[in-house]
């Protein structure tokens, strides 16, 4: 039983900025029709850069000036441009409610931060010297810049922070913002994640880890849980969620997508990048999340998997789901929307919390596309290739970061 006096927190706005769509309806339309956003890399020539990678999830037509003043665009990195766009979209989607700015927080995460700006200035430093380095480099590269810019652009003076837990950062952002509201530090919070790391150095480094697919078949490159999966597809973008104290949302007659009912976090304490093979950290986070939501494993109707399309993650995650949900695991639809979006690193957890909120509120489970061949180690129902209509009361969103940091969110139907 949850404490009846504990504040409950609902999602009242969503702002996805992703390779499958910018804004809620284009995003959801792509996901529910199985349309992926992975394409040949267009921002630079990967062959000229000597990279073994050919595809990524980019947002090539994104125009920062549509969301920010020209000066703010110049002073911030692409990672912040995505964050501002996502936050503005989410706030509009929530109906731009009147709020007490001091009681409104921003928790905006990233895995990496403004690396492109850092590299540009490093090149200038080496080529032209210390006295040519831009004074904007630090505010462009620092991971917490996005949270700061979102607060400036919307005027919120409540708690403001950034959690950097690699591929789990977006999920930790939602979970920690949930706690801010529960604990009374804020009444409303913009929670999100952002990433802009589709750049040659990052692709080179992830390639050296054998983490990325080398496929040149963009459409079929991201294939979570498929036997022939061979690495993830790096993607960029952001997503913001408006979290709101449920009573406050009800009082203003807000449209509610779903409740953020539970949050569990853990560490593998095993290896800096490889998942613990039995999924022990993931199991622990799932159990903590269900306890926090006061739900039993067999109440779960959908799992949005971390599902990166690497051999190690997808096998370990499958084992973890089976252990955490028991026999029920074989009856639960599990899908990886990274099959369509690619892996947006620190933004992924926020995107996927949004997916769960929409699955709950709209009764549709997006598929795992590119699923062709069954892997003996991955034997669950992955909602292959086509969306499914389903009554989803309770959804889990899994996020596991390099560093061994895990976060699981429980998203529950509100008022039903």
């Amino acid at each position: 039983m949850t404490d009846p006096a504990r504040r409950r927190v609902v999602i009242t706005g969503l702002g996805p900025v992703t390779p499958v769509g910018v804004g809620l309806e284009p995003f959801w339309d792509s996901l529910t029709h199985g349309r992926g956003g992975v394409r040949p890399i267009s921002r630079f020539d990967p062959v000229e850069a000597g990279l073994p990678v050919r595809v990524a999830g980019e947002i090539p037509d994104f125009v920062p000036g549509d969301w920010m003043e020209p000066k703010e665009v110049r002073r911030s990195d692409r990672v912040t441009h995505f964050a501002i766009a996502a936050a503005r979209l989410a706030w509009q989607d929530a109906g731009e409610p009147d709020v007490d700015n001091a009681r409104t927080g921003v928790m905006f995460s990233t895995g990496i931060g403004g690396l492109e700006s850092l590299l540009k200035q490093h090149a200038i430093f080496l080529e032209k010297g210390a006295d040519r380095v831009s004074p904007f480099m630090v505010p462009q590269l620092m991971p917490n810049a996005s949270a700061g810019h979102v607060a400036m652009s919307l005027g919120f003076t409540g708690p403001n922070a950034c959690i950097t837990t690699a591929c789990a950062a977006g999920a930790h952002a939602v979970g920690e913002a949930l706690r801010w509201i529960r604990d009374g530090m804020a009444d409303v919070c913009i929670a999100g994640g952002t990433e802009a790391s589709v750049i040659p150095l990052t692709l080179a480094a992830f390639s050296q880890m054998q983490a990325l697919t080398r496929s040149d078949d963009a459409e079929h490159a991201s294939r979570p849980f498929d036997r022939d999966r061979d690495g993830f597809v790096l993607a960029e973008g952001a997503c913001a969620l408006v979290l709101e104290d449920a009573e406050r949302a009800a009082a203003r007659g807000a449209r509610v997508y779903a409740e953020v009912a539970g949050y569990g976090a853990s560490a593998d304490a095993y290896h800096i990048t490889a998942p613990e093979p039995e999924g022990l950290g993931a199991i622990q986070a799932t159990q903590e999340c269900l306890k926090d939501a006061a739900e039993r494993p067999d109440a779960v109707d959908y799992v949005n998997a971390h599902g990166t399309s690497t051999q190690l993650n997808d096998a370990a995650e499958t084992r973890a789901i089976k252990k955490a949900l028991g026999d029920h695991a074989h009856r639960v639809p599990v899908s990886s929307t990274k099959s369509m979006t690619g892996h947006m690193l620190g933004a992924a957890g926020a995107v996927e919390a949004g997916v769960c909120a929409l699955a709950v509120s709209r009764g549709v489970i997006p598929p795992t596309i590119n699923y062709r061949n069954k892997d003996d180690e991955c034997d669950l129902d992955y909602v292959p290739n086509e969306a499914r209509t389903a009554d989803v009361r309770l959804a889990l969103s899994n996020s596991f970061g390099f560093g061994g940091q895990n976060a699981v969110l429980a998203i529950r139907r509100w008022g039903g």
């Binding site: 000066k71 110049r74 040519r132 831009s134 004074p135 904007f136």
Partner: protein, 83 residues
């Protein structure tokens, strides 16, 4: 380069660096009050001017410069442009 040409060039660079429409960047315009430029903007703008004109503008010389006209004079002095 004569001074009119230099003035035009400085104004164009400042317009781009400060993301302010070119017509607002006049010699009379004050950096802080009229062009919304903070100290970081000014450092960045000076870098661009140094790069364009191949001069060096030490921080202490820029400190007293409050207007676009002041920056034009400083660059003119450094480059020896005709007044």
């Amino acid at each position: 380069m004569d001074k009119a040409e230099l003035q035009d060039k400085v104004c164009s660079i400042l317009s781009e660096q400060l993301a302010i429409p070119r017509e607002k960047v006049t010699p009379e315009a004050r950096f802080s009050e009229d062009l919304d430029a903070d100290s970081l903007d000014l450092v960045e703008a000076v870098l661009a001017l140094e790069e364009e004109f191949g001069v060096s503008i030490p921080e202490d010389e820029m400190e007293g410069v409050k207007t676009v006209g002041g920056a034009i004079d400083l660059v003119a002095q450094k480059t020896g442009a005709n007044a």
